[in-house]
């Protein structure tokens, strides 16, 4: 007995009972389709959260002074003066895993323009800051390297500042706003980014050259922090290691010394959120997996009935020379055909349902190729697993008894 013949026999048996075969398949179809759809929903929300994070700059690395201690008292980061401009320059020159780097110093106070005022803070940054935070200039332009060199009193403001300082629609570019008695000329307006997922207003922002803020506003020589962006999210770890090495060397730390700075990346946040969505995906997949198992039991049930119903046929096949293994193979192939066909239809239905969810409910959807492969593999294994017992039962029938069966 060769495979082609077995396949022919199994196909014929199935086509003789189309309705039953279809109903049996339905269990598998629903199982596979729900696994794919559920994982697509789970992965879709994971992806949309990741996108939100990367909008903030997923590869952002923040360096703050830290770990310093004087006489057992931990100091607030802003009081520490360990992060210097030289550190920034060293990082800028030596780091190969960074796509951008900017110092960060900020001062808070009241912004005044004409008879409007608004409490905010001004960030002294470098030119890379825009690309690191994924900010775009909507109107006007970014300050230049020359502005940084000369500590020019220029600034770029966000939408919230524009709305509060220029409420009657006055063109802000070219206007002068005062911040703690220092006048700044507005040279650019940032594109609105709205609130981030933490509820912070991302448009409440004033950017000025860091040299200006350091010299003219704060009169300090140290940095409050350094912002950098890794080449990609995956490179964040390498970049972090590289920065650590350079800063330790810059600060002349001994092997036994603790880091006197603190590096954080968005990856930590994204990892945390990923854990949550992965948990949700797993839960959804488990529920869907249960329906796949129920579908498998459906196959077993039908195959079992089918074996009983076709006892006489099995007896006949044995009498004309089918060996036990031929009968086993026939029923197993029938079960696998049902599950594979059901699996294929399930994949199509699952993908269709995923897109339907996307169109109708506007949920983010992402069909994972591995979820398709996985559910398909699982349903084939289900077919073999649940088809085995009835097939074995058929193969073990005594031909004399089977022929006499009514």
């Amino acid at each position: 007995m060769n495979g082609t013949n077995l396949l022919k026999i199994a196909l014929r048996a199935l086509s003789n009972n189309k309705m039953r075969a279809f109903l049996t398949m339905l269990g598998i179809i629903i199982g596979v389709a729900s696994v794919i759809t559920m994982i697509a929903i789970g992965q879709g929300s994971k992806k949309s959260i990741q996108e939100q994070i990367s909008e903030m700059g997923s590869n952002i690395i923040m360096i703050h002074p830290g770990g310093d201690r004087r006489g057992g008292v931990r100091l607030d980061a802003s009081e520490m003066q360990t992060l210097k401009l030289e550190d920034y320059q060293a990082l800028r020159e030596e780091c190969i895993y960074l796509s951008g780097i900017s110092p960060n110093v900020s001062a808070s106070g009241q912004l005044i323009s004409g008879n409007n005022n608004y409490p905010s803070s001004i960030s002294g940054v470098g030119q890379d800051y825009l690309s690191i935070r994924q900010l775009n200039i909507e109107d006007g332009e970014m300050f230049t390297a020359a502005d940084i060199q000369s500590s020019a009193k220029v600034c770029i403001i966000g939408k919230t500042i524009v709305d509060n300082l220029f409420p009657n629609g006055k063109e802000p570019i070219g206007q002068v706003i005062r911040f703690n008695q220092v006048p700044f000329r507005v040279i650019g307006v940032l594109e609105s980014k709205g609130y981030n997922s933490m509820g912070q207003d991302q448009d409440d922002i004033v950017l000025a050259p860091y040299t200006t803020v350091m010299k003219r506003l704060l009169a300090v020589t140290y940095l409050q922090g350094i912002f950098a962006s890794a080449l990609s999210e995956d490179m964040t770890d390498y970049a972090t290691a590289e920065i650590t090495e350079i800063l330790r060397r810059q600060h002349k730390l001994k092997e036994s010394d603790e880091d006197d700075f603190d590096i954080r990346s968005q990856q930590e946040l994204s990892n945390m959120l990923n854990t949550t969505t992965d948990l949700m995906t797993t839960l959804l997949a488990c529920i869907a997996g249960i329906s796949l198992v129920v579908g498998g039991i459906g196959i077993m049930n039908i195959m079992y009935v089918s074996v009983t119903e076709r006892t006489k046929e099995i007896g006949l096949r044995m009498s004309v020379g089918a060996r036990g293994i031929d009968i086993l193979a026939q029923f197993l192939i029938e079960a696998i055909l049902i599950s594979i066909t059901g699996g294929l239809i399930g994949v199509i239905v699952g993908c269709g349902a995923s897109f339907a969810v996307k169109w109708i409910a506007h949920w983010p959807i992402f069909i994972q190729p591995w979820s398709v492969v996985l559910s398909f593999a699982v349903c084939t294994i289900t077919g073999v697993f649940f088809g085995w017992y009835p097939a074995k039962k058929a193969a073990d029938l005594d031909p004399i008894e089977a022929l006499r069966y009514e």
Binding site: M1, N2, T4, N5, K8, I9, R12, N16, K312, E313, G315, L316, R317, M318, S319, V320, G321, A322, R323, G324, I325, D326, P399, I400, L403
Partner: protein, 248 residues
């Protein structure tokens, strides 16, 4: 001298029913040579079904030796016996046992499906040949539920012929048919006999014995009578003498 197709040497078959041992066959010995048309008769409980199962390699004797076409069957495993049935034996059953919703030709192809040496084209060619031999050359694609009892039994006979077996075993092959159709089937068996086929026909109908070349009678697991029929009646002659059916 033609060769022995079947040799039985002191075949015994015991069944254990509860605590009791039932002796279905109590020592049966006979030989059947190539080309014989043997009827095996006996009342129910005489052991003829057990004997048929043994001859058909569906069952193995408790003791004794059975040679089918020179091959010893007793020591064979189940799969080996299945292959032996496939190559050496053709079964014809009382209730036809055709596959439901399946065409005549597919039913006839069935034994060859289990023989990997026969290609699909060869299988079809031989099936058509067998169906023509039983007079159903024009009903190849008819489904089993679209045929009369006589036609179904012809398909079953074609199925028994298709693997060119050493012996055809018929179990009450005319039991479910009316008189006229029964004789038509008998005519067919006599035709096959004339072509040199070995046929064993198990029946409880004493009339059929007149159309065979040899008659073995069983009682309580013993052979009580084994006679050669010197005066074989022609089934086709009997058929022509039967009154015509009204609906013919």
């Amino acid at each position: 001298m033609s060769k022995n197709v079947i040799e039985l040497h002191n075949i015994k078959r015991d069944f254990l029913v509860g605590d009791e041992t039932v002796h279905a066959l109590r020592g049966i010995s006979f030989c059947i040579t190539e080309g014989e048309f043997v009827t095996i008769m006996g009342t129910s409980g005489s052991g003829k079904s057990t004997l048929l199962n043994t001859l058909g390699c569906l069952d193995t004797p408790t003791s004794g030796e059975y040679l089918l076409d020179g091959i010893s069957v007793r020591s064979m495993s189940k799969p080996q016996r299945a292959v032996l049935r496939n190559r050496k034996i053709g079964f014809v059953f009382q209730n036809y046992n055709l596959l439901p919703k399946t065409t005549a030709i597919e039913n006839v192809e069935l034994p060859l499906m289990y023989n990997p040496e026969v290609s699909a084209a060869e299988r079809r060619r031989r099936s058509i040949e067998a169906l023509k031999a039983v007079g159903l050359g024009d009903r190849l694609e008819h489904k089993s539920n679209q045929m009369s009892g006589g036609q179904m039994q012809r398909v079953a006979i074609a199925r028994a012929l298709v693997n060119n077996p050493a012996v055809i075993l018929a179990d009450e092959a005319t039991g479910n048919l009316d008189t006229r159709t029964s004789f038509e089937i008998l005519v067919l068996f006599q035709k096959l006999h004339a072509e040199g086929r070995t046929i064993i026909f198990v029946t409880h109908n004493p009339d059929i014995a007149q159309y065979s070349s040899r008659n073995i009678r069983l009682r309580d697991g013993h052979v009580v009578e084994d006679t050669y029929n010197q005066n074989i009646m022609s089934a086709s002659k009997t058929l022509s003498e039967l009154p015509k059916n009204d609906d013919d």
